[in-house]
C-alpha cells in the first residue's frame, strides 16, 4: 500500500522495519481467491530463500514461484473427483490485494487513476507468502477452507490471514474457529476479518478468542471530491471519489436531479433500468437498496447522466468511500445528502458541479471506524470483547491482477475497502512481531498488539465512528494498532491452547463438541470450568444482569517481557455505574519472563443499567516509567 506503512510508523531504513528486517524468515499463509503470481509486488528482490522447515509447494510454474511466493495451492473444486487441478490463479483480485497488503515487496510509482501515488509495499515486505485458494466467484466453501487450513498447518506457515467469514456460530460448528485452533496449537498466529456488517451491534464474524478479530478504520488520506450545488461557491459538500477524470469540466453547472423522483420507476437507490430523463444531468443516488455503488453509477451512465452524487443512508453517517465509478462522481455523507435533497426541492431548476481535489493527506480525525466494520458484542461468546483491534481498511491501494484504470503498466493496483483490507495489515504486523520475537505464542503477540493500541486519533481526541461521535468499545476493541509499540509491550497476557479447555467447558459445550475444536479428549466434569471473562485475555467483557448485586471476581496473569527489574502501577477508568477493585495495585518484577497474577473485582452500583445507558466502558492500565499496558473493559447491562 502507498500510505499505510507511513501512517502506521513503518519506515524504510529505521524503526520496526529495520529491527525486524522487514519480516524476513516469516511465512504468511493467505486463504483467498488466489494470487496474480508474477505481479511486481511478489518479486523476491531482497527476500532470502524460505526456512528449511517449509514443507509447502508452489504450484505455479517455476518462473512465477520465487523466494517471495513460496506456496500456492488451489483448493476450489480440488476434490478427489476432479482431475483438472490448476494453479491458484486470481480471477477476482481480492487475494492479490490482501496478499500484497500483508507482504508485498516494494513497487515504486504505484497509483490508480493517478491517485494515491507512491511506493506500494506490504506490512512485512521481506516475509514469504503462501496462497491457498479457497474462494471463487460464488464465495468460499467452508470444506475447502478447512482443507486449506489442514495443508497450511502441515506446510509450516507462521501466520494465517483470512479476509472472509460468515455469521456467528458456536465454535464447534465454525470451521474457521476449528481450523484456527489447530493452527494455534502449532504456534501459528491467526488473523481474521471482523466482517462488513456494521454498524449494527452483534454483527461480527470470526469471534473465537484464539483468533485476532480485525475491524476497519480510515487513514488520514482522502481521495477528495466535492459536490457544489447552485451558484453559491460556499454551498459545497466534501465527498470522495477514486476516479477523478481530468477531462470532466468542473466549472460548468449541470442540471441536478434526485433519482427518487425521476424515471419510469423512480428509484432512490438507482436500480438497474430505473432512471429516465436524466440526460446530461448530475443524478443524486442513495446508497443501499441491494445495489452496489458502482452499479448505481452504471445505471446513471446508461440513462445518459453526466455525473453522480452518491449520498449515504442515515446508518452510515459520514463514512464514505472512494470507489472506481464509471462516470464522474462524489460520495457524500447522509447529512450532506439531506441538504442536497432539500436544495433540489427548493428550486425549479437545481444545478450542481462536481469538483475533484485529488489525493489529500492530513485528516486529523483519522483513524475513524468505518461504518461497515462489524461490531460486538460477540454473539458466540459475549464474555470476550470483540473485535480485538482496528486497522487500516478504507481506500487501501494494493496489487490487482489487471488494470482498472486502463494503465499499460505491468504493476497494476486497485483501491478497495473492507475488513478484508484491514486483516492483512494485522497479519503482516504480526509477522514483524514474530520475526522479532520468535518464541512468543500467538496469544502473546495478540496481547502485545492489543495492550499497546492507540485509542486517540491524530488530533489527540478519542477515535470517532461514522457519526463522528466517539466510537464505542464494540467498534474499536482495544483500539488502533500501533506496530512499534506492539513490538515492545512491557507485559503480555499469555494463553496456551490447553487454557481454552476450561473456558470451552464454561460455555457449556458438550465434551464431544469441545473435542471437535481441541482434537483431544476432554471430560468437562473433570475440568474446573471457568466463566468466559476469566480467560487470561488482554481485555474484559462483563455482563451485569438486572438487579445483580453479587460481585464478579476474575484473575489475570501477566508476563514481564520488558526489563528484568520493572515496577508497574495501576491506573483505572472505572466504567459508569460500576465499582472496581484490583489487588495488588503494584506489580514488581525482578526477572524477565516472570509472571505475576492480580485479582479484579467488578460490582454494579445501585441503579446500574437503569438510566438508559445499556453499555459502559473503561480500562485497566498497568504503567511504568516506560510502558503503558492497557486492557479495555466493556460492561453490558
Amino acid at each position: 500500500t502507498t500510505h499505510t506503512p507511513d501512517f502506521l510508523g513503518l519506515h524504510q531504513g529505521y524503526g520496526l522495519w529495520k529491527q525486524t528486517n522487514y519480516g524476513e524468515g516469516v511465512i504468511i499463509g493467505v486463504l483467498d481467491t488466489g494470487i496474480a503470481a508474477g505481479h511486481p509486488s511478489f518479486s523476491d528482490e531482497g527476500v532470502p530463500p524460505p526456512p528449511a522447515r517449509w514443507k509447502g509447494k508452489c504450484e505455479f510454474n517455476a518462473t512465477l514461484c520465487n523466494n517471495k511466493l513460496i506456496g500456492a495451492k488451489n483448493f476450489v473444486g480440488s476434490g478427489k473427483g476432479n482431475t483438472t487441478d490448476s494453479p491458484p490463479v486470481d480471477n477476482h483480485g481480492h487475494g492479490t490485494h490482501t496478499s500484497s497488503t500483508a507482504a508485498g515487496n516494494f513497487v515504486a510509482g504505484a497509483s490508480v487513476f493517478g491517485e494515491a501515488n507512491g511506493t506500494a509495499v506490504g506490512m512485512a515486505p521481506y516475509a514469504h507468502l503462501a496462497m491457498y485458494k479457497v474462494c471463487a466467484g460464488a464465495g468460499c466453501a467452508d470444506g475447502d477452507i478447512l482443507a486449506a487450513l489442514d495443508a497450511a498447518v502441515e506446510d509450516g506457515v507462521d501466520v494465517l490471514s483470512l479476509s472472509l467469514g460468515g455469521e456467528s456460530l458456536p465454535f464447534y460448528d465454525d470451521v474457521i474457529a476449528i481450523g484456527a485452533f489447530a493452527a494455534i496449537q502449532k504456534g501459528i498466529f491467526f488473523s481474521c476479518a471482523a466482517g462488513n456488517s456494521g454498524p449494527s451491534y452483534n454483527s461480527l464474524s470470526n469471534e473465537a478468542p484464539w483468533i485476532l478479530t480485525v475491524g476497519a478504520s480510515t487513514t488520514d488520506r482522502i481521495l477528495k471530491s466535492e459536490a457544489q450545488i447552485g451558484d453559491d461557491k460556499n454551498n459545497h459538500f466534501d465527498g470522495k471519489s477514486l476516479s477523478q477524470p481530468e477531462d470532466f469540466d468542473s466549472t460548468v453547472s449541470l442540471p441536478l436531479a434526485y433519482a427518487g423522483s425521476v424515471g419510469k420507476q423512480p428509484s432512490a437507490s438507482c436500480k438497474a433500468g430505473s432512471l429516465e430523463n436524466v440526460e446530461g444531468k448530475v443524478v443524486l443516488c442513495e446508497t443501499g437498496g441491494g445495489v452496489t455503488n458502482i452499479a448505481k453509477g452504471e445505471e446513471v451512465k446508461r440513462a445518459g447522466g453526466a455525473a453522480m452524487i452518491l449520498m449515504n443512508q442515515e446508518t452510515d453517517g459520514f463514512s464514505t468511500l472512494a470507489e472506481s465509478h464509471v462516470l464522474p462522481s462524489t460520495h457524500v455523507s447522509y447529512a450532506a445528502g439531506l441538504q442536497i435533497k432539500s436544495y433540489i426541492r427548493s428550486t425549479s431548476s437545481p444545478t450542481a458541479k462536481i469538483l475533484f481535489n485529488g489525493t489529500v493527506i492530513g485528516d486529523a480525525l483519522a483513524p475513524k471506524v468505518a461504518s461497515f466494520s462489524s461490531r460486538g458484542p460477540s454473539s458466540a461468546s459475549p464474555g470476550i470483547l470483540k473485535p480485538d483491534i482496528i486497522g487500516p481498511g478504507v481506500s487501501i491501494l494494493a496489487a490487482w491482477p489487471v488494470a482498472v484504470d486502463q494503465t499499460q503498466s505491468k504493476a497494476t493496483f486497485n483501491i478497495i475497502s473492507g475488513t478484508s483490507m484491514s486483516t492483512p495489515h494485522l497479519s503482516g504486523i504480526a509477522a514483524l512481531l514474530k520475526s522479532s520475537h520468535p518464541d512468543w505464542s500467538p496469544a502473546a503477540i495478540k496481547s502485545a498488539i492489543m495492550t499497546t493500541a492507540n485509542v486517540l486519533n491524530l488530533a489527540g481526541k478519542p477515535i470517532v465512528d461514522q457519526r463522528l461521535e466517539p466510537a464505542d468499545i464494540f467498534a474499536t476493541g482495544a483500539g488502533h494498532v500501533n506496530p512499534s509499540k506492539a513490538n515492545d509491550p512491557g507485559l503480555v497476557y499469555d494463553t496456551q491452547p490447553k487454557d481454552y479447555i476450561p473456558y470451552l467447558c464454561g460455555l457449556n459445550y458438550t465434551d464431544q463438541q469441545i473435542q471437535l475444536i481441541t482434537k483431544q479428549a476432554v471430560i468437562c466434569s473433570q475440568v474446573e470450568a471457568i466463566p468466559e471473562a476469566q480467560l487470561n485475555y488482554p481485555s474484559f467483557s462483563i455482563k451485569i444482569r438486572s438487579n445483580e448485586t453479587q460481585s464478579q471476581y476474575y484473575t489475570r496473569t501477566v508476563r514481564n517481557v520488558g526489563p528484568a527489574s520493572s515496577t508497574y502501577n495501576l491506573d483505572l477508568l472505572v466504567p459508569h455505574k460500576m465499582g472496581m477493585s484490583v489487588n495488588p495495585q503494584v506489580l514488581t518484577f525482578t526477572e524477565v519472563n516472570q509472571e505475576l497474577t492480580f485479582h479484579v473485582e467488578f460490582s454494579a452500583e445501585d441503579g446500574a443499567g437503569k438510566d438508559g445507558v445499556p453499555i459502559s466502558q473503561g480500562y485497566l492500565r498497568w504503567f511504568s516509567d516506560k510502558y503503558n499496558v492497557t486492557s479495555p473493559i466493556a460492561v453490558v447491562f
Binding site: D32, T33, F75, G79, K80, G81, H94, C135, A138, G139, C140, A141, D142, G143, D144, I145, L146, A147, L149, D150, V153, E154, S163, L164, G165, G166, D173, V175, I176, I178, G179, A182, K186, A193, A194, G195, N196, S205, G418, T419, S420, T423, Q512, L516, K519
Partner: protein, 95 residues
C-alpha cells in the same frame, strides 16, 4: 444415477479417532481408508466411486472429511460406529 448425482451435496463429516489404532502415526492412505468406511454401502463395491465421493480428507484440523453425499446417505451414516456429526458445506463471503 443422474437423479442421485443431482442430489449430491458436499457435507463436512466429523468422526471419532479409531479406538484401536493411532491414525495420526499412519499414512494418509490409511486415514482415507478409515474415512471411506463411513461412505454409503452403495459405493462399497467401487473403489473409484468411493474415492470420488471424498472431496477432502482432513488430518491436522480434526478427524473428518468433506464428501459428496445425499441426505439419505448422511442419515444412514449416522448409524455407523464412530460417526460424530455431519452438516452441509457452507459458503462464506469475502469481506
Amino acid at each position: 444415477a443422474q437423479e442421485e448425482q443431482n442430489s449430491l451435496q458436499t457435507y463436512i463429516v466429523w468422526v471419532e479417532k479409531p479406538v484401536s489404532r493411532n491414525i495420526f502415526s499412519q499414512s494418509q492412505e490409511d486415514l482415507e481408508s478409515w474415512y471411506q468406511s463411513f461412505l454409503p454401502e452403495t459405493t462399497v463395491n467401487s473403489n473409484e466411486l468411493k474415492s470420488s465421493r471424498i472431496v477432502h480428507a482432513y488430518r491436522n484440523v480434526g478427524t473428518g472429511f468433506a464428501a459428496k453425499l445425499t441426505p439419505e446417505e448422511v442419515k444412514a451414516m449416522e448409524k455407523k460406529q464412530g460417526f460424530v456429526s455431519a452438516r452441509p458445506e457452507r459458503i462464506l463471503p469475502l469481506q
